[in-house]
């Protein structure tokens, strides 16, 4: 049994190429530079005013980001759990109600299709959030199972509130009971008489929450948050996707489609990636009876992987955009940079890179060949790189419960 519900809220206006989110009336006012882009078809700000101020809002005060465009699916029905367990590489049986877990899912060949989070909303009822549109795959996966898959991307308005003062801001906005909410926990609560679900989840490596509500409450929720700023209590800033890109790399979160080719979009053999190849072996649970891709991943034990996605700190101050990587200065080519940022807080070039992985070992030396411009003249330089096997940046605030009030 599968049902697809078309949202009454999403009405197509021919003049409007990109969909406005339920927060759009406010976002439009905050977005001074009008630097829009499409995120899953929604009109989304890349930058609101200046990238630096947005970045530092995340790292030193509080940031707000519209998460509505994120793909969301409601999964319920008698076979919901076995459906999810067959879909993702992690064991979902262990996920208690009101808890969230990070997952990836693979095709039959054990190559990653996408990543996302599963929210166990109520006993037997789940929400799957994904980076990319997954309805087709979910529907195919549900054939032969008694499970209902409903896309609710447009039915749920969501905001991410992240940063050192996120807890204080939310408390000041009127949210009660967040002190006991642990990382990856869910709280169903109310704000000014409407329902809001709060999850302690995020992508910054710092303290942070995500708020989920019916689109009809979107503006009230927004106003409650920004009321805190208006009252002069805490600073609060909207952030766009560019600032997000900086902090997610600092925090070591990978981006399917940017850091590696997803299986669905791969045309040439060998260009897709298994969870082990992107450094996510730790989410693969071989102990559960079965999941799609398990047999192929078990075969990796006999035929070891040859590529690895790694977190790379690159020396110097030249941005290693799309750089080739070598096993020594002018040595043999062993990889490429996929995404990279300058980290203001760490004062370093940080990158996600795909490198050779031989006999179960990462390269000993990695050098990036960096092309950069000086007054429109191209220059080339070499920079040594260091693999980081932990996130470049995180903070104890992220996991302290109750959170520090700052």
């Amino acid at each position: 049994m599968v049902s697809i519900i078309q949202s009454p809220l999403v009405q197509h206006d021919a003049k409007q190429v990109l969909l406005p989110s339920p927060f759009h009336p406010r976002i439009e006012q905050h977005c001074l530079v009008k630097n829009w882009m499409s995120w899953n078809g929604y009109q989304t700000a890349r930058v609101y005013d200046t990238l630096a101020s947005e970045y530092f809002a995340i790292r030193s005060s509080c940031s707000v980001m519209d998460l509505t465009p994120m793909e969301k699916y409601r999964i319920s029905g008698p076979d919901a759990l076995s459906f999810l367990n067959r879909l993702v590489v992690r064991d979902v049986s262990a996920l208690k109600p009101n808890r969230v877990t990070y997952v990836v899912w693979c095709n039959d060949e054990g190559k990653v299709l996408d990543d996302g989070t599963i929210f166990h909303l109520h006993q037997g009822e789940y929400r799957l959030c994904s980076q990319h549109h997954q309805l087709d795959w979910l529907l195919i996966s549900s054939l032969g199972m008694d499970v209902s898959i409903v896309e609710e991307t447009h039915e749920v308005a969501a905001l991410a509130v992240q940063g050192p003062t996120a807890y204080s801001v939310l408390s000041a906005a009127g949210f009660d009971g967040l002190d006991q909410l642990k990382p990856f926990g869910i709280l169903h609560t109310q704000l000014d008489g409407f329902e809001v679900m709060v999850s302690r989840t995020g992508y910054t490596g710092d303290l942070g929450y995500e708020l989920w509500t019916n689109p009809s409450n979107a503006l009230a929720l927004w106003d409650a948050l920004f009321g805190v700023k208006q009252r002069g209590l805490y600073d609060l800033r909207c952030i766009g996707l560019d600032a997000l890109e900086m902090v997610r790399i600092e925090a070591g979160f990978i981006m399917p489609g940017d850091d590696f080719n997803t299986a669905e979009t791969t045309v040439r053999a060998g260009h897709d990636r298994s969870p082990f190849e992107i450094g996510l072996g730790w989410v693969v649970n071989f102990d559960k009876p079965h999941f799609t891709g398990k047999q192929a991943l078990l075969r990796e034990k006999d035929r070891p992987i040859e590529r690895r996605l790694v977190k790379l700190a690159v020396e110097g101050n030249k941005p290693p955009v799309d750089s080739f990587l070598y096993d020594g200065k002018k040595g043999r080519r062993i990889g490429t940079i996929k995404t990279q940022i300058w980290s203001p807080i760490l004062k370093a070039n940080l990158a996600m890179a795909d490198v050779e992985y031989r006999n179960g070992k990462l390269p000993v030396q990695i050098w990036a060949e960096i092309y950069y411009q000086k007054e429109l003249e191209w220059q080339v330089t070499w920079a040594q790189c260091r693999i980081s096997d932990v996130p470049f940046w995180t903070h104890p605030r992220r996991s302290a419960t109750p959170p520090q009030n700052c």
């Binding site: 067959r86 039959d108 032969g144 199972m145 102990d287 079965h290 799609t292 047999q295």
Partner: protein, 518 residues
């Protein structure tokens, strides 16, 4: 708890054959059959007191190697069999009659030109039959497998093609996918002859003369036996083949249980992956075995007995998409005496009612859109002529394969719909055997949906799933399950849904056993 090396699900001819090969090699084999009779689609059953028939009514390419290996003659199967003539019926009695085997084939009822073309046509096809001969009893290479043994199979085909000579090689490539209609139009003038010769490439498939695909390959498959494409009924009937297989099975130690429906294939998963551990019967009894071999169709095997929770998502989707709707219905008539077909001394042939290829095509057109033709085309035999015990003394059984009867009828297969079709079929037979209606004591019409129920075959499909290029050879039933092994270690397939396909041939049972014993 009892422990078996192998449990085989389904005692159709393929299940019996596979079981016997394994038991002969010393395995402890348990064969479980859901129904109360052996033989599956070839089972002989009473459809009216004193009158019996089998759904599969003739044998055309039963593997001589299997008969030899299992010593079936000693168990009562008369091989080689006497071929029966194939008769293209004409209402006025001006029939086209084909007799003889292979290159010695003879033809009556057509022009001298057609007769000459027929001889040439047979010779050409015979060369192609020999070209393909090594393939039917072989495990197909795995898609993407570059191991030597797999490449060798391809190399063999290549070599055989080289031996054909340049012109034949080209012809083979050209004909393999040619619609039957083009092949016939190129060779013959007689409309009736063309209809008859195209028949064996089409029956059992969702294909008509104008359909592109592999009707020539299907035809060559059916010509692969010693009868060169002719059909026969063993002297003891189809029953004697099933009996011989059963006798060979028990003689080699196979334990056979009837009335034992498997409800579930037991699968365990741990950190090493999945493993087949046995089966659970419909009554809840669990029986363990090192491996399970299923001769039920692939959809039933995977979607019902294994369960999607044990399968990969893309694989499941391929199995769900298998085309399994049957298009052949079965008519059984209990007759008070021998039917008299206008212009035939004795109805001891395989009689085809299809006046021309358009008649076949139009019947197919109706079925494509969920209807059935008012001018059904069919193949008729009177099996009681050869196998007397099918009917009481002096009485007879008429058995007909009726094409094209859709599995899914618009409006559904109600009692009325079935009765109306039955009447239409009888009326059509009566055009060629005008007195037959008075001889009918009882009639039974089984639609593909009925066959699905009575014989536990998805879609009531002749081959357990369409035998067409996309579901053939290393694609049968689908890649990852085309070498008899399946994605689940310890689970194998051995039924008509596997290479080379259906019909009373024994290829899947033979090949699966060899794969298991590898």
């Amino acid at each position: 708890m009892q422990h078996y090396d192998t449990i085989i699900i389904g005692a159709g001819h393929n299940g019996l054959i596979c079981a016997t090969y394994l038991a002969k090699k010393g395995q402890r084999v348990l064969l479980l059959e859901a129904s109360e009779t052996l033989g599956g689609l070839a089972a002989t059953r009473e459809f009216h007191p004193g009158f019996k028939a089998a759904v599969a009514h003739t044998v055309s390419h039963f593997s001589a190697k299997v008969a030899r290996d299992l010593n079936l003659t000693a168990h009562g199967f008369d091989s080689p069999m006497v071929p029966m003539p194939t008769v293209g019926l004409n209402a006025a009695g001006e029939h086209v009659v084909l007799t003889g085997i292979g290159v010695d084939a003879e033809i009556i009822g057509v022009s001298a030109e057609d007769a000459a073309s027929y001889r040439q046509y047979r010779q050409l096809l015979q060369r192609f039959v020999e070209l393909l001969e090594p393939f039917w009893l072989k495990t197909m290479p795995r898609v993407g497998d570059t191991r030597w043994s797999s490449l060798l199979t391809f190399a063999q085909l290549g070599l055989k093609m080289r031996l054909l000579g340049k012109q034949d090689m080209g012809e083979f490539m050209r004909l393999a996918m040619l619609p039957a209609r083009d092949l016939m139009d190129e060779n013959f003038d007689s409309e009736l002859l063309k209809a008859v010769l195209s028949w064996d490439g089409l029956i059992g498939s969702k294909m008509a003369p104008r359909s592109p695909n592999a009707s020539v390959l299907t035809l060559l498959y059916r010509m692969s036996g010693e009868l060169g494409g002719a059909h026969a009924i063993p002297s003891g009937g189809i029953e004697s083949l099933v009996q011989a297989l059963y006798s060979a099975a028990t003689a080699s130690g196979v334990e056979v249980k009837i009335g034992a429906r498997v409800g579930r294939i037991l699968i365990q998963g741990n950190s090493d992956g999945l493993k087949t551990t046995g089966v659970e019967l419909a009554d809840g009894e669990q029986i363990n075995a090192a491996r399970v071999v299923s001769s039920t169709d692939p959809q039933r095997t995977f979607l019902e007995l294994v369960g999607v929770e044990n399968l990969e998502i893309e694989f499941t989707n391929r199995i769900r998409r298998l085309r399994c709707d049957g298009y052949v219905a079965k008519l059984h008539l209990a007759l008070d005496g021998l039917p008299n077909f206008t212009g035939l001394a004795k109805p001891d042939g395989r009689m085809i009612i299809a006046v021309d290829m358009d008649a076949i095509e139009f019947a197919f057109d109706d079925a494509k859109y969920g209807g059935y033709s008012q001018q059904p085309v069919m193949e008729i035999v009177v099996p009681s002529l050869r196998h007397e015990s099918l009917a009481p003394e002096g009485k007879h059984v008429l058995s007909a394969h009726v094409m094209y009867v859709p599995y899914k009828l618009k409006g559904g297969w109600t009692e009325d719909a079935r009765a109306a079709l039955c009447q239409r079929v009888i009326d059509t037979v009566a055009v060629y055997a005008p007195q037959i209606k008075a001889q009918i004591l009882h009639s039974e019409l089984l639609t593909p949906q009925d066959l699905e129920q009575t014989h536990q075959v998805t879609g009531g499909h002749w081959h357990h799933g369409e035998l067409s290029v996309d579901q053939m050879l290393m694609m049968r039933p689908t890649y990852e399950a085309a070498q008899y092994s399946t994605p689940i270690p310890g689970l194998y397939l051995c039924g008509a849904g596997s290479h080379p396909g259906g019909g009373l041939m024994g290829g899947p049972g033979h090949n699966a056993a060899r794969k298991i014993l590898e």
